[in-house]
């Protein structure tokens, strides 16, 4: 990737705007512009008629859901200090531009860099560059793991470190921050207000010449008043009403509501996996596990496995993925009233109803020094009756500059 140093008139104008935004008026900085884009046509069909993922358009070929554009400006202020803004827009949001990243970084020695501001949330191994299609060989990273979490950005502080251990390298990241926005609920098929406070995350990647081992954890406290009021408690309303008519006390109902709610509960995510790139054979595996503890949320254990073969400037990849949930009724231990117990189990099962798996074939052709053509076919099955068996066919171009 060739960084663009602001030199011509149009770039200089944009640079001045960014410099004004990032720096004191008297400061001078070298601005480097980079960017990435994906223009992708996607066709989705499902037996049930509902699109398998929000943002996709069932039954038609559309260039809207998976096309995107990003422009990143980095101002090097010297002596290790830099400021970065990434402006990002995607078709599914009408290319409405948002400052996806906006942070200051200070490289205080060869090994450690501290960043503060808004940046990528490293939920799983590839989450930070999930939208940069050129960086991987799929049309989209396997959905079973990379399901487009809305909390892909975070506001906080992060410490990135890099160590050389003989022939190996170890990179680590720890961060603290928070997020608030909207999150998709598969139960109601709508977006609801959602937040995560006190996010603590740590991950590490150990790499040799041709292999990587990685893992990480992510914990947060849920700000779930909205999802409780819009989804969880309405689902429980009929059961609570029936329970109160059959002898449940106010205390039992209050206790039950505190058990089924998500607000102030702890969310815990972890991932691990490996990547191999040797003699033009590629093998990738990632397993993830996450849940909002002691709530009606169902624990999720998902993974993907991909095998690829590189032929000069063409990469063929076949992969299989599985998105699985495990309803667990332990959070109801101590609930005595049968109507409340049945209601709690029912909601937990509803949150765990959505599972899917499938296989995909992807082709990448690097036809240009900065651009790759990709085509992708995926066949899957979703346990929701409104979706059922589904197919995704896509083709397009990913580029970086």
């Amino acid at each position: 990737m060739k960084p663009i140093i602001l030199a011509n008139k149009s770039f200089r104008s944009l640079g001045l705007v960014l410099v004004t935004a990032l720096l004191p008026a008297t400061a001078l900085a070298e601005i480097t512009l980079n960017g990435f884009a994906s223009i992708r046509g996607t066709s989705v069909s499902s037996d049930g008629g509902l699109e398998p993922f929000p943002g996709f358009e069932e039954g038609e070929l559309s260039f809207n859901p998976e096309s995107l554009f990003a422009l990143q400006a980095q101002a090097d202020l010297g002596e290790g200090l830099s400021a970065t803004v990434q402006l990002f827009g995607e078709g599914r949001s009408d290319f409405e531009v948002e400052a996806r990243w906006a942070y200051l970084s200070y490289q205080f020695n060869d090994k450690h860099r501290l960043s503060a501001g808004r940046f990528a949330n490293p939920i799983f191994h590839q989450s930070e560059y999930e939208k940069v299609g050129y960086a991987h060989n799929f049309s989209r990273l396997p959905k079973a793991v990379y399901i487009d979490f809305d909390f892909s950005t975070i506001e906080g502080v992060a410490l990135d470190s890099q160590y050389n251990l003989g022939d190996y390298s170890l990179s680590t990241k720890v961060l603290f921050g928070g997020w608030s926005g909207e999150s998709f609920s598969a139960v109601t098929n709508t977006f609801v207000d959602f937040g995560m406070d006190n996010i603590i995350s740590a991950n590490a990647t150990l790499a040799g010449d041709w292999w990587q081992l990685f893992g990480g954890v992510f914990a947060a406290q849920i700000d779930g008043t909205s999802i409780d009021n819009s989804t969880v408690f309405p689902l429980a309303a009929a059961g609570i009403s029936a329970a109160s008519k059959t002898g449940a006390t106010a205390g039992q109902i209050a206790d039950f509501k505190s058990r089924i709610g998500w607000d102030n509960k702890d969310a815990f995510y972890w991932f691990s996996g490996f990547a191999i790139d040797r003699d033009n054979w590629l093998l990738d595996f990632e397993f993830v596990d996450y849940v909002v503890k002691d709530s009606t949320d169902a624990a999720n254990q998902s993974w993907y496995l991909a095998l690829g073969r590189r032929f000069d400037n063409v990469v063929l990849t076949v992969h299989t993925e599985d998105y699985a949930q495990s309803p667990d009724h332990d959070f109801l231990n101590g609930v005595a009233h049968p109507a409340l117990l049945a209601t709690g189990k029912g909601i937990n099962n509803a949150f765990g109803q959505r599972e899917f798996d499938g296989v995909g074939l992807s082709v990448r052709y690097d036809f240009h020094p900065s651009a790759a053509f990709k085509a992708d076919y995926f066949s899957g099955t979703d346990t929701r009756a409104a979706v059922g068996d589904y197919k995704i066919l896509s083709f397009g171009i990913d580029l970086v500059f």
């Binding site: 990435f36 990143q72 060869d110 050129y134 010449d209 400037n313 690097d366 970086v400």
Partner: protein
């Protein structure tokens, strides 16, 4: 036609076998092996062994020495290298070496800055720089 084919084949062989010289400032006495050079150009090593900070410079994609260096030392094609740097640039974890347009410019930059490490077609090396390793 036959002669043309022979000449083309010879030219191709010469390009394919072109030696690449990794060059540093004449005052740089650090021992550099292939693994260390690879780490420097992939952003994993930011200092020479003596503690001096290192600034790697790469030749532009179009230069034959660029693809020869990427293949021999970094074990990556140009596209693979771009994908590698994409992961770092767009997550704020690193920036690729600045690209230099010609061997002559590279020689000039290396000769005037003890922090710089670069590479050129070995046939272009002159006395203004020190050759750390040839591939």
């Amino acid at each position: 036609m036959k002669k043309l084919l022979i000449i083309s084949s010879l030219l191709f062989c010469q390009l394919a076998l072109a030696e690449v010289a990794v060059i540093v400032h004449p005052s740089n006495n650090n021992q550099l092996d292939e693994a260390t050079i690879s780490k420097i150009f992939l952003g994993r090593e930011k200092s020479f062994a003596d503690g001096q900070s290192v600034v790697p410079l790469a030749l532009a994609d179009a230069a034959p020495a660029s693809s020869a260096f990427n293949d021999a030392v970094l074990k990556k094609s140009s596209s693979q290298l771009k994908a590698y740097w994409s992961k770092l640039v767009f997550t704020g974890k690193g920036t690729p070496p600045k690209e230099i347009g010609s061997d002559e410019e590279m020689l000039k930059l290396v000769a005037t800055n003890p922090s710089v490490i670069g590479y050129v077609d070995a046939s272009k090396v002159d006395a203004s720089v020190k050759v750390a390793l040839k591939f």
